[in-house]
């Protein structure tokens, strides 16, 4: 009989708020992040980057750099594997340019030297001859006939014939007959929306320390959201066996999706192989902005029809995503998320993945969803305004529920959208009076959440404590969540469990910490691994008592005979069993390997009050409330933290953050001074409401929480700003100059 500890109530540890296990290390400066590793004989590396948005590389002369004292190795594309295609081929092309530099900041060569200063000087001594080519950085311009072609043949089979070669993927879905639906509407609104590329903005630049020998064996330390993926990619790009490269994930100083791929690690390893010494490579902040992945910029058209009573009759959206110089912009996800919150009879959505001369976009927290919500929820807001309807009641009227057919096809299982809307409506924020000059905005948001390949191993120590090895880097307190879930199953205190992020040599493949999957998938695997260990503990007790294994059960850290028929035995504590495990069959460990597919989707509703100064165009967010379904909040404080962090990033995206390109195709604001993320004095306290509608696909009902929190803010803030300013804002960021322009054109118009 398989042990099953599934439950959604009656928790002892899950749902409590203990101190995080890595807290002490992080408040004392001891925690080791990507750039905090050093090795004997270590070299420092630096990367030579293209100053051009689009250029053919005619010649690279590294001789002067190589001749400099202290320089130990110089690499170019010739030092990497050849013949790699597909996803890894694109990553290689991005990691080190081949025939063309495809964006301002594209790597073309790299140096390893005895000091960082020498490495930087040597980079300047590398001479590159370029033939400058026409470039394009805007998504709409890149789709036009005559636009410079970034790379021929990059489109896949999804793209209809006759489209520009920069359109590399196409997605379309929906159901019903939208034109018939629009004909039933009392009011149809269609609008065009634009959002700019924003960066994840993690405070820790990419950093790694790599050693690769001519024997094909290597060690790599790096800050990453997924070290098995790094292992796989680096092995391919350097043509070594995957298992011979051991990758250890450092503490990670923020990722938000931006550390789900590979930028510098293969370069450090290539330099190390050539110099035969360990090589440390750390990006500067300017390199982070120029050459690691921002999110897509977008151009979107959304059309929605509504009856006077608030019923949505049809919805249609076209979403064009700029993905940089490589395929991969999340056009499918944008289109799929767009209308997901609503029960629609007639719906149609289209997505385009468009290449430009910009850095390869990378995932950013619910990739693609926030922009879609901005467009869709703005149109719904406008419809509610024009028809005199309450924005929450209208959303409730059309809300997706269990059994509703989703806008992109499947039937929803148990979901919690209605619960978030009801909680938002009941929240004092929603009925609080506004001051003059202020506006209130509402938005819903949706994210899929993800399962993915997962392996966890749990080992019991002689004293009855437990070590849990998980493979998903801890980007927001997940070690605490894992320990809580293991404690719940084992029935031992949270403090008796130590959770470690294992290296690639220790566990089977673990997919990246992405898709809000960690607490769901690694959590599920931790629960199953703990159950596996408990079953073995029960077997040892059964053997000692001489009764069948299924006559023993586990409760609060004790093996107990399951009833009078099993016999009368004194319960055995976990420590009593582990103390003698060497003599009763050997070490007791539990493990679990699977690809869980029951990640519960998650919905949120946000309420924002914004104040707009008509003189300066400056917007202040004066009150913010996040309401989100967490399924089950394992560590509620860290769930709140995810809600607040997503809202704060959304505020930056909505109001201030943007990639600004000049006519020359160069990024003009590659630093935190000119790319200004929200600072403490920009923000109010961010109130949170955790709604718990259990996910049937997780033993404790957990849903991912990390990403959904960034889906509603762009729209909620735009709706609040539009209400405060009295003019509809259709372009992000809503920086002061743009607000003033909108106010002026409203007066002129």
């Amino acid at each position: 009989m398989a042990l099953d500890s599934s439950k959604t109530t009656g928790f002892k540890y899950v749902g409590t708020r203990p101190d995080r296990p890595d807290g002490l290390d992080k408040v004392t400066g001891r925690a080791k992040f990507g750039a905090d590793a050093y090795a004997p004989g270590m070299l420092h590396a630096a990367i030579k980057r293209s100053p051009h948005a689009h250029a053919r590389i005619v010649k690279i002369d590294t001789s002067k750099a190589e001749a400099m004292e202290g320089v130990k190795a110089v690499v170019t594309r010739a030092d990497f594997a050849t013949g790699i295609e597909g996803e890894f081929g694109n990553i290689l092309e991005n990691v080190m340019a081949g025939e063309k530099a495809l964006y301002d900041g594209h790597a073309v060569a790299a140096v390893a030297a005895t000091s960082a200063l020498i490495a930087r000087d040597a980079v300047k001594a590398i001479e590159v001859e370029y033939e400058i080519l026409p470039h394009v950085t805007d998504v709409d311009a890149a789709m036009q006939a005559g636009a410079p072609v970034i790379r021929e043949g990059a489109a896949d089979s999804s793209v209809p014939e006759g489209l520009h070669p920069n359109i590399v993927r196409y997605y379309e879905s929906g159901h019903g007959d939208v034109e018939a639906g629009f004909a039933e509407a009392d009011l149809v609104i269609e609008d065009h929306f634009l959002t700019e590329a924003t960066h994840q903005g993690y405070i820790e630049p990419h950093a790694c320390l790599g050693t690769l020998g001519t024997d094909g064996k290597g060690e790599l330390w790096c800050c990453t959201q997924g070290h098995w993926y790094v292992q796989k990619v680096c092995a391919a790009l350097l043509d070594v066996e995957t298992s011979q490269l051991r990758v250890t994930a450092s503490e990670i100083g923020g990722g938000f999706g931006g550390k789900t791929t590979v930028f510098i690690e293969p370069v450090a390893l290539a330099l190390s192989r050539k110099a035969n010494r360990p090589v440390k490579l750390v990006m500067t902040r300017a390199e982070v902005f120029k050459a690691s992945g921002p999110t897509s910029s977008t151009s979107m058209d959304v059309r929605i029809g509504m009856k006077k009573d608030g019923t949505i009759t049809a919805a249609q959206g076209t979403f064009r995503l700029q993905g940089g110089a490589f395929p991969g912009a999340p056009c499918e996800m944008t289109a799929m998320c767009a209308f997901a919150p609503y029960d629609l009879k007639h719906v149609h959505q289209v997505g385009y993945d468009v290449m430009t001369n910009r850095p390869k976009q990378a995932a950013y927290r619910a990739p693609g969803s926030p922009m879609a919500a901005f467009a869709v929820e703005s149109v719904i807001d406008e419809l509610c305004n024009k028809l005199g309807l309450d924005p929450i009641d209208t959303r409730l009227k059309n809300a997706s529920r269990e059994g509703t057919r989703a806008s992109f096809g499947p039937k929803w299982p148990r979901i919690g959208l209605v619960e978030t809307l009801e909680a938002a409506k009941a929240h004092p924020h929603y009925s609080a009076p506004l001051k003059p000059g202020q506006g209130r905005g509402i938005s819903c948001g949706f994210w899929f959440n993800h399962g993915g390949e997962t392996a966890v191993s749990l080992a019991l120590s002689e004293d009855g404590s437990a070590q849990v090895a998980v493979g998903t880097p801890d980007i927001g307190g997940s070690r605490a969540s894992m320990a809580l879930m293991a404690a719940e199953v084992l029935g031992i205190p949270y403090e008796d469990i130590r959770v470690t992020i294992a290296d690639t040599a220790t566990l089977g493949y673990n997919e990246i910490s992405h898709g809000s999957r960690v607490t769901y998938a690694s959590g599920l695997a931790t629960i199953k691994a703990a159950e596996d260990a408990v079953q073995k503990l029960c077997a040892r007790a059964a053997a000692k008592w001489g009764i069948p294994e299924d006559a023993v059960y586990w409760e609060d850290g004790y093996a107990k005979p399951s009833g009078p028929n099993a016999g009368e035995f004194e319960p055995l504590h976990i420590g009593d069993i582990t103390a003698t495990m060497g003599a009763t069959g050997g070490p007791i460990c539990g493990h679990f390997e699977a690809t869980p597919e029951g990640a519960g989707v998650s919905f949120a509703t946000h309420i924002v009050d914004a104040e707009v100064d008509p003189e300066t165009g400056k917007t202040s967010v004066v009150r913010y409330t996040v309401v989100q379904d967490a399924g089950k909040a394992v560590h509620p404080t860290y769930v709140e933290g995810q809600f607040q962090g997503g809202a704060a990033q959304g505020i930056g995206w909505a109001l201030n953050e943007e990639y600004i390109y000049g006519e020359d195709g160069r990024l003009q604001n590659a630093g935190f001074l000119d790319y200004r993320i929200p600072v403490a004095s920009d923000l109010p306290m961010i109130d949170t409401v955790i709604v718990e509608v259990p996910n049937p696909g997780h033993p404790f009902g957990v849903r991912g929480v990390g990403e959904t929190s960034i889906c509603p803010p762009l729209a909620a803030i735009a709706n609040a700003v539009s209400a405060a300013a009295g003019v509809r804002m259709r372009q992000l960021p809503m920086r002061p100059s743009r607000i003033l322009e909108a106010l002026e054109s409203a007066v002129d118009g």
Partner: protein
């Protein structure tokens, strides 16, 4: 390039080092003195992750040269606790979950300690403006502000 000999005090201990005149104080702390608590988030004084005190004054160590440390007293996150006893700010940051990834935490602790030494009873607004030079991308600052306010209250009560 010839190196310069520097004598300084870090967290109360006398230290000597040789450094290139182009090296920042942050480079020296991390690469020469093995004090990696201060982080380089930007190298341009915009993020505050490298915050230290120099003769009691809060500075970005990425904006100061290592040679300028001659004869100064440097304070870093590694010197905030006293033996096994954490500074109240360190305790409260753990208690309030005022950190997620933790990369900005050393700088924020150094900065808020400097604030509370000058202003033991700060308003929320004062805390927010004082920390405007310390970027945190994970938390939205909410729990950080609460932890600082509560620490200030506790320290006032204790004094």
């Amino acid at each position: 390039m010839s190196k310069t000999h520097v004598t300084t005090k870090v967290n109360g201990d006398e230290v000597e080092f040789l450094c290139d005149p182009r090296e920042t104080l942050l480079d020296v702390l991390r690469d020469r003195l093995n004090l990696t608590g201060a982080k380089e988030g930007c190298g341009t004084g915009d993020c505050g992750a490298c915050s230290v005190t120099v003769d009691g004054r809060l500075v970005c160590s990425c904006l100061m040269l290592g040679v300028e440390a001659e004869g100064k007293e440097i304070g870093t996150v590694e010197g905030i606790a006293t033996g096994e006893e954490l500074h109240p700010l360190q305790r409260k940051f753990i208690e309030y979950a005022a950190l997620q990834c933790g990369i900005c935490t050393p700088g924020i602790l150094v900065a808020t300690k400097a604030l509370l030494e000058r202003t033991p009873d700060p308003t929320e607004e004062q805390v927010r403006y004082w920390l405007a030079g310390n970027l945190c991308r994970c938390t939205g600052y909410d729990k950080i502000i609460r932890a600082v306010m509560d620490t200030a209250a506790e320290m006032r009560e204790a004094s």
